[in-house]
Symmetry: C3
Subunit: 347 residues, 3 copies
Amino acid sequence: MRFSSLLKALQMGDAGLLWSNPGADPPLTGAASLELAAADQLSFLEKGNALSSELGQSCVGALLLPDQQDLIDRASQREIPFAVFSDPRLAFAEALDQLVPRRRPPAEIHPTAVIDERAVVGAGTAIGPRVCIGAGSCVGANCVVHPGVVIYDGVLVGDGCELHANAVLYPGSHLGRGCVVSANAVVGSEGFGFVPTAKGWRKMPQTGRVVLEDQVELGSGTTIDRPSVGETRIGAGTKIDNLVQIGHGVSVGRGCAFAAQVGIAGGAQIGNGVILAGQVGVANRVVVGDRVIASSKSGLTSNVAAGQVVSGFPAIPNRLWLRCASTFSKLPEITKTLRELKRNAPQ
Amino acid sequence: MRFSSLLKALQMGDAGLLWSNPGADPPLTGAASLELAAADQLSFLEKGNALSSELGQSCVGALLLPDQQDLIDRASQREIPFAVFSDPRLAFAEALDQLVPRRRPPAEIHPTAVIDERAVVGAGTAIGPRVCIGAGSCVGANCVVHPGVVIYDGVLVGDGCELHANAVLYPGSHLGRGCVVSANAVVGSEGFGFVPTAKGWRKMPQTGRVVLEDQVELGSGTTIDRPSVGETRIGAGTKIDNLVQIGHGVSVGRGCAFAAQVGIAGGAQIGNGVILAGQVGVANRVVVGDRVIASSKSGLTSNVAAGQVVSGFPAIPNRLWLRCASTFSKLPEITKTLRELKRNAPQ
Amino acid sequence: MRFSSLLKALQMGDAGLLWSNPGADPPLTGAASLELAAADQLSFLEKGNALSSELGQSCVGALLLPDQQDLIDRASQREIPFAVFSDPRLAFAEALDQLVPRRRPPAEIHPTAVIDERAVVGAGTAIGPRVCIGAGSCVGANCVVHPGVVIYDGVLVGDGCELHANAVLYPGSHLGRGCVVSANAVVGSEGFGFVPTAKGWRKMPQTGRVVLEDQVELGSGTTIDRPSVGETRIGAGTKIDNLVQIGHGVSVGRGCAFAAQVGIAGGAQIGNGVILAGQVGVANRVVVGDRVIASSKSGLTSNVAAGQVVSGFPAIPNRLWLRCASTFSKLPEITKTLRELKRNAPQ
């Protein structure tokens, strides 16, 4: 694909093409990061990007740039074809869709799939080998269900969803449109609810269900539990990375992003636009306000007000935590100073 | 189901029905938490339950209450049918089993299951589509094996177990009666044992096995490794949440509860009735006494005596940790005070 | 197998047989740890091994010992047949392979496997029931692919690999020779890359691939993501435990060992021979030098120089951390002392 054709396509996108200098209009076959890119590959830079120093040596075929004069000058100088975007990262995302179009399996139902006669599969949907779909379940139109996926009874999957290999949807799960469930993820398993009795732990039946609203994505191996009653709900457009645990009865707002190995305990309520970094934990029933950001490994043991940036365990405001954490490594010195002061103190 | 019929059933249970006031004896079709419950739904309250303030507005159809006069008075006043139990949470668990009976697949072996001719399947057991059972394995009576489960060779599964979709049992695994293995959980994979050599890591063969005693439950994506020799053993009635890792050669006592993302390293010995909250870690060969409670994210790096409540990393007694953690956030102040004292100190 | 025959086999190995005293040359049927070993079982001790006190009572059939006189004396005294090795742990590993030979399924393709006609399977490879192999994928010679494994399109699997039940390899994944992928592990799922836009998170297409070099082993439930462009690469001989997350674009060197529940964020670069203990986190783009050791639960938020041993979060040198962590539990005392000093200080 010629660079100019790519730019024509990107003009229809959301990345804000400002102007371009396609130079020799090279044919592009793919993309790479700047330091590795070859003459038939596209790359991009953002404002403040650490890779911009590579511009002097790069063999890249064409570049998507921000509106930043020094980068434009250097690209011009080296006669690298380029285009300037309001959001070059978004432009790169859109370009990748053009350069490496997603392959879609044909809209067929593989003969080895086991689909209950009381289940419904929408038009244009591809069902891979060895998929199981239970009674009363309904998979919408234009979905892709990869091999080995197990859909229990009474599950609803909206249009345009992609379910990756060996993912499991328990009874009653409800997925909106355009959701992605990655390999080996589990939606709707029983919440961890047990009642202590004289005879040991007695299971609290988990009769609720999990709802994923539109455009939710779940990473590989991620698990979302259903509650004893009511719902566990993940809001529209929320993206969840690999090996994340969402407990029973949790509600998550819209447009959140949770990195890998996050764990959210039962009944927590997470607002909209919340970002949780890797290995963060949120305790039972904690309420996390809109747009909260929690840095990696932090543990939210009590409610966090909207807009806060928190860190540490128990989580405190990020700026305070940074100072505390740097003081932590001076604790031996502090103790020593204190001992000296005490020795010399007037009694 | 009428409230009175439900109460008749609960009378046979373990929750201790004290007395009841079934009022208009409403028909119940399900259950919900108090603030969401509709007129055909059951709910419950416990002593000290934060939801009790909802009692004034709730549309709930009927209530299970503790023996607490103010709750009883308020329910009476609003003419909500109710019953009083010694353990209303347990009553609610028993009620859910009545109101939402668990559906059981018919006791059939699906024709797409691949069962070795040297394997045995007990009476009354349901084997779903695409299940694989290896040579010499034996699945007991009245089990449910959901689609896609893989049972390797030489596995024993006791009566009344439920194995959820795509779970995997490695060779030699031994499950007692009434165990539950949730979706994508793995029992008996190779312990992480490697010997450092001049040529790199050399695998220590993992020839042992995993034993789950009766009534053990494993969450989705949880992994239990087998050891090089001997056993990894999980005691009767122990409940384990999602994405938990149990290392090779670990022994866990009876009646424990481990929350999600707990990790227990090789050779650790966990007593009876131990509770580990989310994301807790236990180091290699650490011995944890009976009834220890470790709060979330704590790391047990040395032995913990029976009955202790510990927190933090490395774990220390919970009360001490609470004070230390609250002081942690004052470290910048402490440093400042110390600097002032030092400046003013007699030299 | 007689002890003397076992020793004959071990003589060909790498463990350095120094000399032996096979005594009555007992027949051995297996192995166990010293305190549990029976008369037909082998065991071993290492220098400084805590189990050496068991030597007085053990019923073990034969022992592999280090060149340590007191152990040799005690074994001789109790007339336990023994052999002395430079590396008795390695000898034990080699002995287990002799005593408990690994069973290998026959090199057949199960009729229920679904193999695309454009896929290639090498000679001597066993393909289990319900395995799926996509178009253009190539599985090498002498591999074992267990039931339920899903191999998407365009995957390369080298000779002698073992893929355990229900593991998933996404498109383009490339495995070297002798790799092991444990049950339910996922190789090559989409990296967690989203571009923030006015309309919410926009997926950054993940067009790169994952490369596992020779002899890489992945634990159960472990997930390795592919990047938007380029590679995620795991170096030869690196061993990874269960439920580990490796983000997109990470590069890991040779001969590393990562314990369970480690998480490595996108773009991090890990050197050779790095050891990460359980639940360690490495932040985005952090560079970790060769032979670094990070103790459990530590979080590497900035670059770590080669050879360092680090602990804590944020990670600091291990020795410093040990002192800081022990001071942490004295924070309430420190505060008290400080308050007293302040009260008594000259104003």
